[in-house]
């Protein structure tokens, strides 16, 4: 199994029942990239408003993704292949003060 820690912050947690930290296990028969993970999150963790999370099969612009505290823009974005015990963080920049 592929063990991941998925965290939501900056307001993104509001789409996930206000739960910030999720421990998940994925069946690793096939390889998992962020692309597949986003769809899995939408189908399994997201509570409502999918358009606030995904847009055109990628993350909605304005939500930042970090893998193990590194900007996913440095890791190949959607095609980054997830490893066991990766920590994936989603931070919304879209929420005001």
């Amino acid at each position: 199994m592929l063990h991941l820690t998925i965290e939501f912050s900056g307001g993104a947690e509001l789409l996930f029942g206000n739960v910030k930290k999720h421990q998940v296990e994925l069946n690793n028969d096939t390889k998992w990239t962020i692309r597949e993970l986003l769809v899995w999150i939408k189908d399994n963790l997201l509570k409502h408003k999918p358009e606030m999370f995904l847009q055109d099969e990628t993350i909605r612009p304005g939500i930042l993704i970090l893998v193990n505290d590194s900007d996913w823009d440095l890791l190949g974005n959607l095609s980054y292949e997830l490893n066991d015990n990766d920590n994936v963080t989603f931070i919304s920049t879209l929420h005001g003060g």
Binding site: S9, G10, G11, L14, P61, G62, L64, L66, D69, S70, D71, D73, L74, T89, I91, S92, T93, L94, H95, G96, G97
Partner: protein, 387 residues
């Protein structure tokens, strides 16, 4: 494949900078982030030694990072300014009360004085009460107009020389775009200035003018700064929301777009024959305004008289219909009429003994009160239908 930092070439990069595309490690990112803001501050000569600077603090990411960075830079570079936090409490239960808690935590952590100014003390109305009256359609107009004045009035009470706000590069690009869409040339011209309001009100500066939202959020994340993030419980401003998503879409395709829009906005020249609104002062409260009555006084009069649509869009007809003094642009010929500049504070609206919401200087009879009440009842029915 781990990427190394372009600056120190030693540590693993943690961030791709949107403005430049550079990969940077945490320490180098902190350094360049702070240095760029320092450069913005010194290039524009924002602060002078001895000045008192009010930081508009909402408890959100931008103002939290602003307070932290200004405190850091003030100590590092001896700006010699006195920093104070200024928060506006609009009176929105479940939103502002929570975010103010985060400001209060920052106040303790950064050891800065804090002043909270409320809509209730300034205007006699909380946003919760206003929404009950006006519904959920134009409430953001009230809130935006009232907030702008509230910061100035709070600044006056604190005796600050300048106010700084956390408006970032994304916000400014969004505002330029919105002003183009609305054909608002006056604001289009003003919105790119790093300092505004030199003409009388307390000058307002935006030290984050060139700072990307992504970097502000990343900075807060890596510094583990404590900020509050949630949507306002009342409906968000849909028009701004669209502009915002458009800017974010552009950024996703080409991150430099944001800084390029600001550059375009700064270099735009307004034709000489373009008619710009004349900036004067409100005859009722003395606040800067391009009308004889400022927007806040207009809205407030509407609230107090049970005419919540007053001040929203064109309201000449409504004013005439209910025999209210006319509101007009200072550009118009009526500006030549002699005006009584009463320079009253907003609170004096409440001075009237009969509690009709009328200004004490104006005639107020019980007769007027009764007709007002009848009016209120009628209008509430109309308003309910409209919203």
């Amino acid at each position: 494949m781990p990427v190394n930092c372009i600056r120190c070439n030693q540590n693993r990069a943690i961030l791709k900078r949107p403005k430049t595309g550079d990969a940077m490690c945490k320490e180098c990112f902190f350094f360049v982030f702070e240095e760029e803001i320092h450069k913005t501050i010194t290039d524009a000569k924002l602060f002078k030694p001895g000045e008192k600077i009010g930081i508009g603090a909402s408890g959100g990411k931008d103002s939290t990072v602003l307070a932290y960075v200004l405190k850091t830079l003030n100590e590092r570079y001896n700006y010699g300014v006195e920093l104070v936090l200024l928060s506006v409490d609009e009176g929105i239960t479940g939103y502002r009360d929570d975010s103010l808690e985060s400001v209060k935590r920052n106040q303790i952590e950064y050891n800065l004085p804090l002043k909270v100014i409320t809509y209730e003390e300034l205007y006699g109305w909380t946003m919760d009460e206003i929404v009950k009256k006006v519904g959920r359609k134009n409430n953001c107009t009230f809130c935006g107009v009232f907030r702008r004045q509230a910061l100035d009035r709070g600044g006056l009470i604190l005796g600050v020389n300048k106010l700084v706000t956390g408006h970032n590069a994304d916000d400014i690009a969004e505002t330029i775009f919105m002003n183009i869409l609305r054909g608002d040339i006056g604001r289009l011209q003003r919105c790119t200035s790093i300092t505004t309001g030199n003409e009388g009100a307390i000058p307002r500066c935006k030290p984050f003018k060139y700072t990307y939202e992504k970097e502000i959020v990343m900075y807060a994340y890596f510094k583990k700064l404590d900020y509050f993030s949630t949507e306002c419980v009342y409906s968000p401003n849909a028009y701004r929301g669209n502009a915002r998503m458009f800017i974010k879409d552009l950024e996703a395709i080409r991150a430099r777009s944001i800084i390029d829009i600001i550059h375009s906005g700064e270099k735009l020249a307004v034709k000489k024959d373009a008619k710009l609104p004349i900036q004067g002062t409100c005859e009722r409260c003395g606040y800067i305004s391009s009308m004889n009555l400022c927007k806040a006084c207009n809205l407030l009069e509407g609230l107090n008289k049970g005419l919540p649509k007053l001040g929203i869009g064109k309201t000449d007809r409504l004013r005439k219909q209910y025999n209210l003094s006319p509101a007009y642009s200072l550009n118009s010929s009526m500006a030549n009429l002699s005006l009584k500049s009463s320079q009253l504070s907003l609170n004096s609206e409440k001075d009237c003994n009969c509690d009709c919401g009328e200004n004490s200087e104006k005639s107020c009879s019980n007769q007027a009160k009764n007709s007002n009440n009848q009016l209120n009842n009628k209008l509430e029915t109309i308003v309910d239908l409209n919203f």
